[in-house]
């Protein structure tokens, strides 16, 4: 909650703590601590220093109404409802002017995202060619969308900020390399390309080549991920030979090559998904294909410094998986914060979890659904499914349906019990995030979380859905 329930107001009686401001002809009086609450870099902080021995109010030639909203924000850390009179853009611009934009951001950003209590708040719809081919979300809640060869950037207010037209026609993979630079790849054209939003230009390309092997040319990018200094991209050639290239982020030069494989079997396919795990310095790659005989694929963990495989598994066929015979995974996801691997079983629809610190022969723990009414009826595995981890919750898109697996908070005193249950059994509960009518909108293609928002793209649907949690009750009048 914003405020404690008890009264903690204090009476300021020392006149030297106070400051008078004349904003566009309207007088305001406040304390120095209030207008300095946003740190020494703000304009208001500068003004508060200048006036200490001048009895006249400081004059600021700006709109007084917006200022009174921002002053309320500084006083209470809460945006008053009068802010609704102004657009998000106006408030953001004005807060920028006073140098208190971080304060505004903290007050307007959504509360912690909770899958059990989320609703659609809007759709980000690019103005032209609105069918997103892929997108990526950032921690501040902004999103980059690739659509029809264009890259569009939307800021944390989800206001359009820039669009770049790339030389590619359909961007299949995108990764945020720097705050303004995106790395993109496509399945129809060769190479990994870097585009800068400011100046909207192409800043570099990387191609996979091998002087000793002339067959390695026109290799396409399938997946991209970024570490602190490098970008990892998986390339494959038309004859299916593939590898992962590590590219220096700053110089845009190839550093090393790892995981080169022939691609002639399902377990040697090009990785379709790459995830970099900062805390352990491990790269996770996975690939899944669905065929007439069901799904097959692999998960592999590399140490990029040595280029060696740390752990791998493939389904079907790997040892120690007798309990789930014929139920190979159809989607893979890594929880980077909690170091967990998740797989979605294609036949049963079950979700399984593996602790990445204790990977062994059969590390999977299958999460059970206790509610019989929510049991999936197995299905034939033909439903397209995606998995995404965000804020310790696992979001699963099955066809058009969106569900969440979330951890139930344990009894706090009971340490030993928490240890016992840490294997995941009974701790995760499954719930639907969406309403029944939402599921008919289209098959979910991609889910990604960022800035306490969940972004979802659907097949043949323009734009990207934005889901948020809210503390507002949202009562609807039915009088």
């Amino acid at each position: 909650m914003e405020e404690e329930s008890t009264s903690h107001a204090t009476v300021e009686s020392n006149a030297s703590d106070r400051i008078k401001l004349n904003v566009g002809g309207k007088l305001f009086e406040t304390t120095l601590s209030t207008i300095r609450s946003d740190g020494p870099d703000s304009l208001l902080y500068d003004l508060s220093n200048r006036s200490s021995n001048d009895p006249n109010p400081v004059f600021i030639d700006r709109d007084p109404e917006i200022f009174s909203v921002l002053l309320s924000l500084l006083r209470t850390n809460h945006l008053p409802s009068t802010a609704l009179r102004f657009s998000k853009q106006e408030l953001a611009d004005e807060a920028n002017f006073y140098g208190i934009d971080s304060h505004l951001r903290a007050a307007t950003s959504p509360p912690p995202f909770s899958g059990i209590d989320a609703s659609i708040v809007g759709t980000v719809r690019p103005a032209s060619e609105g069918f997103p081919s892929t997108f990526t979300a950032a921690d501040n809640g902004s999103v980059w969308i690739a659509h029809g060869g264009q890259l569009s950037s939307y800021d944390w207010n989800l206001i359009h900020s820039a669009t770049v037209r790339t030389h590619l026609d359909e961007i299949k993979s995108i990764c945020r390399v720097w705050p303004e630079i995106a790395a993109v790849g496509t399945s129809s054209d060769a190479g990994l390309h870097f585009y800068n939003f400011s100046g909207s230009r192409h800043v570099g390309s990387v191609h996979w080549s091998d002087p000793t092997d002339p067959r390695i040319f026109k290799a396409r990018v399938n997946a991209i991920t970024a570490s602190e200094n490098s970008v990892f991209a998986s390339f494959d050639c038309s004859h299916r030979e593939n590898c992962i290239l590590e590219v220096d982020k700053a110089k845009i030069q190839i550093v090393s090559q790892l995981g080169r494989q022939s691609g002639n079997q399902a377990k040697h396919m090009v990785p379709m998904k790459l995830t970099w795990i900062q805390t352990t310095g491990v790269l996770v790659g996975s690939a899944v294909t669905g065929g007439a005989f069901g799904y097959s694929g692999y998960i592999r963990l590399w140490d990029p410094r040595s280029g060696e495989v740390v752990w791998e598994t493939h389904e079907p066929g790997a040892s120690g998986r007798s309990s789930r015979f014929g139920d190979s995974f159809s989607a893979i996801e890594v929880d980077v914060e909690k170091l967990l691997l998740f797989k979605l079983c294609s036949k049963s629809g079950d979700l399984a979890m593996a602790d990445m610190r204790r990977l062994g022969d059969d590390p999977w723990v299958y999460l059970k659904e206790k509610n019989p009414s929510l049991w999936t009826d197995g299905g034939d595995g033909s439903i397209s499914s995606v998995v995404h981890c965000y804020k310790e919750q696992v979001f699963v898109g099955r066809g058009g349906e969106l569900e969440v697996w979330s951890r139930v908070q344990e009894v706090i005193e009971c340490e030993s019990e928490r240890e016992r249950e840490s294997d995941g059994e009974g701790v995760y509960r499954r719930n639907f995030v969406d309403k029944r009518e939402d599921s008919g909108k289209g098959v979910i293609k991609k889910i990604e979380g960022g800035g306490d928002r969940l972004f979802i793209s659907r097949e043949d649907v323009e734009g990207i859905e934005v889901w948020e949690s809210s503390h507002s009750a949202g009562a609807i009048s039915v009088l």
Binding site: E3, L27, T31, F432, A475, S477, L479
Partner: protein
């Protein structure tokens, strides 16, 4: 002399003067010490009224909202210009001054419930696909709603909500201990959980140790000003009991109505599924029913909690209740029959005497109805009225006092306007603050009925 410069007042009133001047965000306000102290002790206002500083106290807050609160202190009501403010802004500001309770009182006091003026006015939507299974309210109108494995809490102003995840697949019994604390139990899950709804964890689990050492499921929760009553049944369904807890410490105090079932004793095998405290008689009403091949049978018992004895009991064989409630102010017990779907009453004064029998208020012939017309109907009482849900509608029963007659007269009305009649079947009915809450089958929302004058 620039405006507002210096804090020493020019026309300094004598220090024993009754008038207090306050500078709020650059605007001057004058009021009396009495007005300020009416906010109650230990609030910010009473502190200001006590200071004897020669300086004008300065408060770095919004002056417009302050002027509203000053009116609230002066008259006990918010001025009408407060309507242009968002209530949530006012609540946040009132917490700063420590006077939220004044706002609660002026908006959501249970004494302000106007049964004849309730209109369907709000819908509180719930996220996800689960329909509400049970609802619970606090006296001042906070609302807890369980849907699926989740519990969503709405604050007294119905402006803010929060949702937590529980261990239950569905919560069948929910009881509000406070705006942020609830007791929850289920028919298929052992133990009563005390849940912190703000942080979302289980504070405590209360269990009933039954003889068979199996789990104990919760069938009903009730409360008196001092105690919480929980009806448990063992998971093997061969014993049941009502455990009395201290409402503050949540320690068990005593256990009443412990039944062990041997053989085919059907009557003792029915656990209580509704518990209601009758304040005027200091008795606990416990009712439970059971559906068998020969129809629905049940029993209603009135317990003296101190002695642990049944004071009065009735076995229901013909037209057993679908739901029962006891009205203190009407001094009568009301039921809605599961076969007839009609409301009947029994005068509490006649309990134990020859005359103690149900008086059917509707079509008496339907009592022998073979159908289960009243199945799932709910009956609740609030003040001098009895509210009975029938399908998608709510009937409002009131007593008409006619000086001479010995027979009591109750008359009913259908609540709501023409457009509100009908709708999906009502599954829960509850009262909190000055509002009525109800949920309907397969609708993921809570309906709020309130009087137009108390509109927030």
């Amino acid at each position: 002399m620039p405006p507002f410069a210096g804090s020493l007042l020019q026309s300094q009133p004598r220090s024993d003067s009754n008038i207090v001047t306050i500078d709020v965000g650059g605007q001057m306000f004058q009021t009396t010490k009495q007005t300020l102290t009416s906010a109650g002790p230990k609030t910010f206002f009473s502190r200001i009224s006590q200071t004897d500083s020669p300086f004008t106290p300065f408060i770095d807050r919004d002056p417009e909202i302050f002027s509203l609160f000053l009116s609230l202190l002066r008259t006990g009501n918010l001025p009408s210009k407060a309507k242009s403010f968002d209530l949530h802004d006012l609540i946040i500001e009132s917490r700063f001054y420590g006077i939220e309770n004044l706002l609660v009182n002026s908006f959501s006091n249970p004494s302000q419930l106007e049964p004849f003026n309730l209109q369907k006015s709000l819908q509180l939507a719930l996220n996800g696909r689960d329909s509400p299974s049970s609802i619970a309210t606090t006296p001042y109108g906070s609302l807890h709603v369980s849907h699926g494995s989740k519990i969503t809490t709405f604050d007294w102003s119905l402006r803010r909500k929060s949702t937590i995840l529980t261990h239950f697949t569905a919560v069948d019994s929910l009881f509000a201990l406070s705006p942020s604390l609830a007791a929850a139990g289920a028919n298929d899950f052992s133990g009563l959980q005390i849940l912190d709804l703000e942080k979302g964890y289980v504070k405590e689990t209360l269990n009933w140790e039954n003889v068979t050492k199996s789990g104990s499921t919760v069938q009903a929760i009730g409360s008196s000003p001092e105690n919480m009553f929980v009806s448990f049944e063992s998971s093997r369904r061969n014993s049941n009991s009502i455990v009395v807890y201290d409402l503050n410490s949540l320690r068990p105090v005593t256990e009443i109505g412990h039944n062990e079932i041997y053989g085919a004793d059907i009557d003792s095998a029915i656990p209580a599924t509704k518990l209601q405290w009758i304040e005027s008689h200091n008795l606990l009403m416990a009712s439970g029913s059971h559906s068998g091949p020969s129809g629905v049978s049940g029993n209603i018992r009135l317990w003296d909690v101190r002695s642990g004895e049944v004071v009065w009991e009735v076995s229901e064989k013909v037209d057993c209740f679908a739901d029962v409630t006891v009205s203190d102010s009407l001094s009568a017990m009301f039921k809605v029959g599961v076969n007839s779907g009609e409301v009947s009453y029994m005068d509490l004064k006649n309990l134990g005497s020859e005359k103690s029998s149900w008086v059917c208020l509707g079509d008496k012939r339907k009592v022998l109805n073979g159908k289960k017309e009243g199945f799932g109907y709910k009956i609740e009482t609030q003040g001098n009225q009895v509210f009975c849900s029938k399908g998608g509608d709510v009937e409002l029963w009131s007593e008409i006092i006619m000086g001479s007659s010995n027979n009591r007269i109750f008359k009913k009305n259908l609540m709501g306007r023409g457009q509100d009649i009908g709708g999906a079947k009502i599954t829960n009915l509850a009262f909190g603050g000055s509002r009525m809450f109800l949920t309907r089958k397969d609708l993921q929302c809570v309906e709020v009925w309130q009087s137009s004058s108390r509109e927030l």
